[in-house]
Amino acid sequence: MTNSGDVALTNVAVTDDQHVAVSCPKSTLAAGETMTCTGSGTAISGQYHNVGMATGQPPCGSAVSANDSSWYYGQSPQPPASRSRSTPTANT
């Protein structure tokens, strides 16, 4: 995220509409400053979409925000093309 304005922002944070916990290295951004925040999860099957929203508080006036979406498609594991017979073994 980038502070694209002309004043410093405090209380800078990123939230995710799918409740991904997002960690940012700092909570204040000077004008023009950029930082990278991260979140992680486990891919689920099928179509997935979430929206990240960045917010920050200028020295005066209302908070500013921006959001961006991303998508992925989780593929289900493919069944094996053919099965080979095997002889079970047992531990004794």
């Binding site: 980038t2 004043v7 800078v12 689920i44 020295p59 006036g61 979406s69 593929q75």
Partner: protein
């Protein structure tokens, strides 16, 4: 001076305050000085004013964001009795354009639209697969 917001200044620009101090009484004043409630250091050319005399004191600072105001207080000691004082307030404002941008990536890939509907004849999609 007129009330807020006062003149618009660029953030970070130099601010010059002038304090016009007049001894409007009928006796001389000593130990004349000006203080500022926001900590601006105010310099005056002299510390005594005869009756009717005027001097201009000055202070400097750097414009900070948002609405700003400060109060200058002039004081002086007459030959007898308590010190006399006078105050005046001034204002300036610094317009700002706060804004944020965010670019969200997934596994390092920035996706700008959802994947196409998947079908046997269209297995590829713009979104990453997991």
């Amino acid at each position: 001076m007129a009330g807020p917001p006062g003149p618009q200044l660029p953030v970070g620009s130099r601010v010059s305050w002038t304090y016009l101090v007049t001894n409007c009484g009928q006796v001389s004043l000593s130990n004349v000085h000006v203080t500022d409630n926001r900590g601006v250091a105010v310099t005056c050319p002299k510390s005594a004013l005869v009756a009717g005399e005027v001097m201009t004191c000055t202070g400097y600072g750097t414009a900070t964001a948002c609405q700003y105001s400060n109060v200058g207080t002039a004081s002086g000691a007459p030959p007898t009795g308590a010190a006399v004082t006078a105050q005046d307030q001034s204002w300036y404002s610094v317009p700002s354009n706060p804004a944020l941008q965010i670019k969200k990536s997934i596994n390092g890939q920035h996706v700008t639209r959802p994947p196409a509907r998947r079908s046997p004849s269209a297995r590829r999609s713009p979104g990453p697969t997991g």
